[in-house]
Symmetry: C2
Subunit: 592 residues, 2 copies
């Protein structure tokens, strides 16, 4: 097992040098945060994560939640940790001050969230999903619902869930069957939902379910879906939890490959009289409300990909430094970090994790800038950029996290396969990330369809232009090879985009067949962009007095490694795109 420490120096580097957190804070009128409070917050989060959440990670793996007497009991120790988490004010960090939030920038909140997700992925899903519920209620809920539910969700006093999937309606939400019937000022919900993360637990005195359901007179398909708020316990007139249990129960728990500490529930609504639910937004407009929640969660899952990669990297690094294997000619024994192939794996983990971090934070900072923007035209562009980032952050980072956690096991050799070592847990836990909140295939379809073909490539062209411009500003010969690799990758991205606009716009099969390659190409490109920018910034900082030369040099080396070893993948993606869908779709089903 390994200790975990938030990679503070790299996190601060991204916040200060890539994002300009200071400026974001000043823009938002948060001068105290700009003047050192951000570092203090991150420091405190690091302590909470390392000392309280990280040690519970393996406990959750070996002792998952249980269902007894209709109630889910979470892993022992999780509840205390959650209480400390709330007492520390952590749930409200980035939330709206109108409802008790602290209103800190999303870019800072995402760094803090990295701590929780690295320290304990299964536990941290609970606040992550609560965050999605908050976003959705904030954006679409009535004033009354906001007043009743937001303060206690934001304080962490209650938690939230997302009830979307049914056994015959996963990716295909149009097929969902859960029913909602009007009943005075509220609705009665009946149906069964599966894969409900943290659907029940004893950490708080209420759980707020957001449930997709269909009204009797709703149109068919996704245009007939509405979103409802279904509390586990009903509220009194003062908005406090009563002992009146709503007809919404966890009826079983899944036995999963990973994230054992996170109870994945089958939720049954309305087995008795119908669960009481309150409409969020308008009838039959649930899909938009769901997407508010989902888009937030998608970037959150991308963050999880970064977080578990960082945790796995730290464990592999510790092992590689300690494990003695091999003898030099002079007879001295060496640790495996001295073996070039082990180093190659560690460098890939290190550089990719940095690239993931940079992209995750930059994407969140874009949300801050979007929120602060007053010029409608610029605001629309910022919105388009956030929307473009979302599937890349979710899709590319979580795919890459599979490889990074794989390598972490590999560095351990035979010990990696032994569960007590703990690194296999990260590999198992990570496996869900490319599945939930929309599989990789769904992210890729979103990217190629809604985010590229729908606007004729406008948002993507703007991103490519920005990357191109940033690269042209890098003139130091030390980074020449990085810039050259980036120019090739840019050219690959432009070729891919052009090919897709030409060939995929009118052919859904072509779009579907090449979409994952396209997403991966853009992911590697974005990672390379931010690694190159980081290295260029590091070069400048090296000239400053008192600079941490070792750290800054490592940023430059990581950018070089990434450019040399990861960016070449963009050309294989492009070549695969060029092959289109012909051989992919050629076989009949019987020929498989």
């Amino acid at each position: 097992m390994s200790d975990y420490r938030y990679p503070y120096q790299d996190g601060i580097f991204v916040l200060n040098e890539l994002i300009g957190l200071e400026q974001i804070c000043h823009q938002a009128g948060l001068d105290d945060v700009a003047d050192g409070l951000a570092e203090a917050i991150l420091d405190e989060a690091t302590k909470m994560g390392s000392e309280q959440l990280a040690p519970l990670n393996r406990v959750g793996d070996s002792t998952g939640a249980t269902l007894k007497g209709g109630q889910v009991h979470e892993t022992p120790g999780f509840s205390d940790a959650y209480r400390h988490f709330c007492e520390g004010g952590w749930p409200s960090l980035g939330a709206d001050p109108e409802f008790g939030g602290q209103g800190l920038p999303a870019a800072l909140a995402v760094a803090v969230n990295e701590v929780w997700q690295s320290a304990n992925l299964a536990w941290s899903l609970c606040p992550l999903l609560t965050q999605g519920a908050i976003e959705s209620i904030s954006a679409h809920g009535s004033d009354q619902l906001k007043q009743q539910y937001l303060p206690k969700l934001i304080s962490g006093e209650w938690t939230g869930t997302m009830n979307l999937t049914e056994s015959d309606a996963g990716t295909d939400l149009a097929a969902l069957k859960t029913r909602a019937v009007r009943d005075g000022d509220h609705y009665r919900i009946t149906g069964q939902k599966i894969f409900i993360t943290w659907g029940d637990h004893q950490m708080t005195d209420n759980v707020v379910h957001l449930v997709l359901a269909r009204l009797p007179d709703a149109p068919a398909g996704v245009k007939g879906i509405s979103l409802f708020l279904v509390p586990k316990f009903l509220l009194d007139e003062n908005g406090n939890t009563t002992d009146q249990r709503n007809d919404a129960y966890a009826v079983s728990l899944e036995h999963k490959l990973g994230i054992h500490g996170s109870p994945t529930c089958v939720m049954s609504f309305g087995d008795n009289d119908g669960a009481i639910g309150y409409l969020i937004g308008e009838e039959n407009k649930g899909l938009a409300c769901m997407f508010t929640m989902m888009n937030d969660a998608r970037q959150g899952v991308g963050l999880q990909g970064l977080a578990i990669s960082e945790r796995a990297y730290q464990q592999a690094l510790t092992y590689a430094k300690e494990r003695i294997q091999g003898t030099l000619r002079d007879g001295s024994r060496i640790s495996i970090i001295k073996h070039p192939d082990v180093r190659r794996m560690l460098m890939q983990m290190k550089s990719c994790t940095q690239a993931m971090r940079a992209l995750t934070y930059v994407a969140k900072a874009e949300s801050d800038q979007h929120a602060a923007e007053t010029d409608p035209a610029v605001k629309a562009k910022r919105k388009a950029r956030v929307d473009l980032y979302t599937p890349i952050v979710k899709g590319w980072i979580t795919e890459l996290s599979q490889e990074i956690t794989y390598l972490a096991v590999q560095v351990h050799g035979g010990m990696g396969f032994i569960e007590e070592t703990g690194v296999a847990q990260h590999y198992r836990d990570a496996r869900i990330l490319t599945i939930y909140e929309g599989t990789t295939g769904i992210q890729a379809l979103d990217l190629i369809g809604r985010k590229t073909l729908a606007d004729g490539g406008e948002a993507l062209s703007a991103l490519i232009a920005e990357i191109n411009s940033d690269m042209s500003e890098i003139t130091d010969p030390k980074l020449q090879s990085v810039v050259t690799s980036m120019q090739e990758s840019l050219s690959n991205a432009i070729s891919a985009q052009q090919w897709i606009l030409d060939k995929a716009a009118k052919d859904a099969n072509v779009a579907g067949a090449v979409s994952v390659h396209f997403m991966m190409l853009l992911g590697y490109l974005c990672g390379g962009w931010l690694m190159a920018k980081s290295a260029n910034r590091a070069l400048s900082l090296q000239a400053e007095e008192g600079a941490d030369q070792e750290f800054l040099e490592s940023k430059i080396v990581c950018a070089r490694f990434y450019a040399e070893q990861m960016l070449p993948r963009t050309v294989s993606s492009l070549n695969a795109i060029y092959s289109g869908d012909e051989s992919t779709m050629a076989l009949s089903e019987d020929q498989f």
Copy 2:
């Protein structure tokens, strides 16, 4: 959970069309095998695998072996299956007739072994390791040891183990500490070995341990290692098992990520008076004996990579055909196999599994041809080719099997993460394959060092020349794009080889840093070669009367898909090789 069927048509295609099994059989004087017996054998194996071993696969996962009273008790049902396996004569298929074997070609035996490994990877490790012990005793054992042990190992009456690893000596065998002391006509062995697969069980009345140990006066390092045969029970003068228990015990079992059905033992030798052991080969020459066993096992693990990929593919395919998700414009619901991205995953699984199969069988056929060859010069070349294949079969196939089993989970969406579905087991089981019998890094070092740099690239150049010549024989325009891709990949391989001969010969760090990229490049190349040959053969066969057009067409489509989507990876590998070791080795340990 899924049924398993050996992909009979593809297996026979490889045996007949790529390998020329008939000719191999005639060469070996096995005319009856050539005349249809091979098909009958494979057919019977398929039945045994599907009906008896496959259903026990999940049982082994959920109910692993236990250690009680110093004895390992395997998963319930495994022992019966093993008895049927022996009664069917399966263990002796490819073994030497002098000791009771059936002397069938290795190329046919490997196809039969694919059945066992697909049906039940954990169970099949037991005969796989026994096979390694047989090889080592056959090649290096005294006549007496052969007479005493080979017949019962070949019949399956006893099983064999490989005792190499110690807690401080994994990859680095030079560090091993187990001691052997001369004691009359035998030796006394003392020490502890870890990660001993099927180190104990109740399926047979004896277990034959092959144990690496060091004599008191042995030279330091790997030149001071000897190999000993240590039976669990001593034999009487007639070579039968007595009740005299040798001082060799399983003292604990590992709790592993996968292959739960395979007991992984800590073995303790000589806690009382020293375990009685018999020298195999000469004193201090144990490494060569170990490599005989190891090289056989390495190709066996490559086969496991193929086998588990095939099993996972079959399960994903079944799910993709059955799972309804999505609605067409006309309102009809469709199964997910109709979605292009799902198809892309299935096509990758299908085409890669075929490429793996072709390479695994071709490599084994090379062993047959080597064995049958009488011209010393040709024989030496065949030996060099077998040696060149071994790290590619082990390294490339097992790495690729990670991706294939990953995709199998992915096709299942959320259900893939639920253990009851069964597909996650394949993903977990597969994870050991790039680790045991030498990690991927070790295979890659073997390939670049002993198999490329050591002979100045001679064996590799011969392989490249053969591939080139085969490609020049493909003239049908339907395969033009495949040939073009192969020519690019050949050019990438030649460039990589040249660069490595220039730059890596004198620099171990460069060799180590680029070795895995080099191995993967050659793996994809070999796969593409055999897919292209298969497609070309399929084209010819299509002209024959009564040909199975659907199947032959699918071989052509799979070759195209592989060329379009997998071969482009060779250029990213080449580019990564060109970057050498500079950024990989640049950081100090503190900078990580």
